[in-house]
Symmetry: C2
DNA sequence: GTGAAAGCGCTAACAT
DNA sequence: ATGTTAGCGCTTTCAC
C-alpha cells in the first residue's frame, strides 16, 4: 500500500549507475550526447529504482510546467466530454498533463478570475464555451501563457469554434424548405452564465427567417432550462398556447430537443407529423432516437485546440491570432417532416388548433 | 496578449513590501505569525505585482504537489461527467488542482501502468470504474501516494462504490414482481477494457432470478456495443429471434436502454406494452424519456472520493482501507409494465410471436 | 561524452 | 514577529 517512503532521486539513479546526475538527466530526456552503453546502464538503474522525474523540480529550472490547463463550465455534457476525451490522450502523447478547472457557478467563476490559479501552474490555457466579459478576457491576457478560446471566439486571440450562426441557419432553412413558416427556437441556460453559443444560434435562426422573408416573432423564442423537467413542459406549453403555435421547433442542443420531443409525445402531439423538432450537436442519443440535427464535432475541436496549445507553447508567436472555424452539417432524420397542412404564403387563415 | 516576460517572484514582492521573503511566504500562506500591518503591506505588494506562488517551487520543498489526479476510462459519459463535476469544485475549494488522465484504449492503458506518470506529480490518485488486473492494482500500490478506487472495489484499499449487485437485483426483482419470467440482460463493452461494473450487475441479475426460482438462460444475456447502432439492432434481433423471446430487458446502463427502446419501437414493438425495458443510472435522459431505472449518484461518488482523497493526503493512515458503499434506488417509470399475457408457472405453452 | 557547480523559487529550521 | 540560512530535485552552463 502507499507509504511515506522517500522516492528515489536522480542522485540515487546516478549513484547506482555509477555516473553523474547530469548524465542521468541527459539520458532520461533522450539527449543524443550520451554513449549507448552509459544510456543502457542509466536506464536500467532508473527502472530498478522505479524512478520518475519530478516535474516540479524540472519545471523550476526550465520554466515549463508540462501541463495544459482547461477551463470548463461543466464536465457533465456531451460536448465537454467529447472534447476532453480527445484532448486528453493528445496531450498525454505529447508528454503533457491535463489539469481541469471546473467552474460551475458564479462564485467559482469570480474566484477563478480573481486568483487565476492557473498562473504559473500551466503552460497554456484552453477556455471552453464561456461567454466571457471583456474584463475577463483581458484578465486572461496577462496570465503569462497562451490562452486558446474554444467553442467561442475572442478577437485577436487564437480560437477554435464552429460557425454557429451558419449551423443554426442550416437547421432553420431545413425547416423552411420543408414548408414550415411558424418555427420556434428554444435556447437553454446554464448555471455559471456560460453559453454554448446560444446567442450565435439565435442569430442564425433569425437570419434564415429573414432571408425567407418571414417576420421575427419573439413569442416563438422560449428559453428552457434543462435542469428541471417542469421548465421544459412549461416552455412547450407556452408554445402550444400561442394563438398561432409553431409547426416546428429548433432546439439549441440535442438534449433539449429530446426532452421537448418527449414532452410533446406525452401530450399526444405526434413528432414529426404534427410538430417537427430539430436539435444541434449530433449527440450520440440523436442517432439512437432518430433526431434530425446539425452535427458539430467536439472531438475535432478538442484535438485542434490541443494541437494549437502545443504549438503556442513551443512558439507563442505562431498562430497567435489564428482562428480555426470548423464546419457543421445538417443531419436530416426522422423528427423533421413537412408541416401538417401545407400552407402557401398569404393564406395564414387556414388554422388548426 | 501572452508574452515571455519574467513573472514576479517572492523576492520581488518582499522587496516591494520592504520585508524578507520568508515574511511574504508566511503572509501568503495565512500563517498567524505576521503582524496585521505587515500583512497588509505584503498583500498589497503581491496584488500590485500580480504575484502568484509557484506551486512547483513550493512543492519541491514541502513534498506536496497540491494536485489530485484521476484516472478515467473516458470523459464522455454521463457517469464520469457527473462525478468529476462534483469532484472538481470540491478540490478547488480545498486549494487543490485536478489533473486528469484519460485512458481510452489498451495502448494508453499499458503506457500508463508502465510509466505511472502520476508518480511524483500528485498527492493522491482516484481510479474510476476500471476493472483492474491484480498486477495493475499492485503497481498502483507503490505509487507513493494514496489511491482511491471509485465505482469499483479493491480489497484492503479505500474504495467508493455502489452495490451494483444489489442495484441489479432491484431492477430484476421489479420486473419479476410485474410478472415477467423471461428477462434479458444487456451488458455493454467499452474500448479500454474497463467496466462500469457490468460484471457485478450481471451477478445481481442472476441472483434475483435464482431467488425467484427461475433458471438462468445464457441466451438471454446479449452484449451490445454502444459504439455503433448496428450492434444494438443486432443484439435486439438476437433476443427477438429466440424461441421464447424475453418480455423484459434489463440494460446495463440508461444510454443502452434508450437505444434498445428506440430499436424496439422502430420495429413496432411497443414499450412497455409488449416488452418492458429498464436501465441503470438514472441518467438525465432517463427522466426526459420516462425510463424506468435504478438510480445511482455519481456526483455523490465524486464528492466522497474527493473527501476521502483529501483526508488520506492529510493522514494516509486514516481510512486506509475504508470502503464507502452508496445506495441505489429503483425508479419505476413508464417503460416497465406487466408482460402482455400474464403467465403462471407451468403453462409456458401459451406463446405469442 | 561526461562531471562539477550554480542556481530555479520557494519553505522550514533556526536565530534574533 | 521577522530575518537568515540551507536546501528541495532537477537542468544547465561550463570545464574537461
Amino acid at each position: 500500500m502507499s507509504s511515506a517512503q522517500r522516492l528515489p532521486t536522480m542522485a540515487d539513479v546516478a549513484e547506482r549507475a555509477g555516473v553523474s546526475p547530469s548524465t542521468v538527466s541527459r539520458t532520461l530526456r533522450g539527449l543524443p550526447t550520451v554513449s549507448p552503453e552509459v544510456r543502457a546502464r542509466v536506464e536500467k538503474a532508473a527502472r530498478e529504482l522505479n524512478f520518475a522525474v519530478s516535474r516540479q523540480a524540472a519545471s523550476l529550472v526550465t520554466g515549463k510546467t508540462g501541463v495544459v490547463a482547461v477551463l470548463v463550465p461543466t464536465l457533465n455534457s456531451w460536448f465537454m466530454g467529447s472534447a476532453l476525451s480527445s484532448l486528453g490522450p493528445l496531450l498525454r502523447a505529447a508528454g503533457m498533463e491535463l489539469t481541469v478547472y471546473v467552474i460551475s457557478d458564479m462564485s467559482e467563476r469570480t474566484a477563478f478570475f480573481e486568483h487565476l490559479p492557473a498562473r504559473r501552474n500551466a503552460d497554456a490555457l484552453a477556455v471552453f464555451g464561456f461567454d466571457l466579459t471583456d474584463e475577463e478576457t483581458v484578465r486572461l491576457d496577462d496570465l503569462g501563457m497562451p490562452v486558446i478560446y474554444v467553442s467561442q471566439h475572442a478577437e485577436g486571440r487564437p480560437s477554435v469554434y464552429v460557425d454557429d450562426v451558419d449551423g443554426a441557419c442550416k437547421a432553420t432553412r431545413h425547416l423552411l424548405n420543408l414548408g414550415h413558416r411558424r418555427i420556434a427556437f428554444a435556447p437553454t441556460v446554464g448555471a455559471s452564465g456560460f453559453c454554448f453559443s446560444s446567442r450565435e444560434r439565435l442569430l442564425g435562426y433569425r437570419q434564415a427567417l429573414t432571408e425567407a422573408g418571414i417576420p421575427i416573432d419573439d413569442d416563438l423564442v422560449v428559453t428552457m432550462s434543462l435542469e428541471d423537467r417542469r421548465g421544459i413542459t412549461q416552455g412547450v406549453g407556452k408554445l402550444l398556447s400561442l394563438r398561432e403555435p409553431p409547426t416546428a421547433i429548433f432546439a439549441e442542443m440535442d438534449e433539449l430537443a429530446i426532452a421537448i420531443i418527449h414532452s410533446l409525445r406525452k401530450a399526444r402531439i405526434q413528432v414529426p407529423e404534427r410538430i417537427s423538432v430539430i436539435g444541434f450537436d449530433d449527440h450520440q442519443v440523436a442517432e439512437w432516437t432518430d433526431l434530425s440535427t446539425v452535427a458539430q464535432s467536439p472531438s475535432d475541436m478538442g484535438r485542434l485546440a490541443g494541437e494549437l496549445a502545443l504549438q503556442l507553447i513551443q512558439d507563442s508567436d505562431t498562430g497567435h491570432t489564428r482562428h480555426i472555424v470548423l464546419p457543421t452539417h445538417l443531419i436530416p432524420r426522422g423528427t423533421t417532416a413537412p408541416p401538417p397542412v401545407p400552407r402557401r404564403e398569404g393564406d395564414s387563415e387556414d388554422e388548426r388548433a
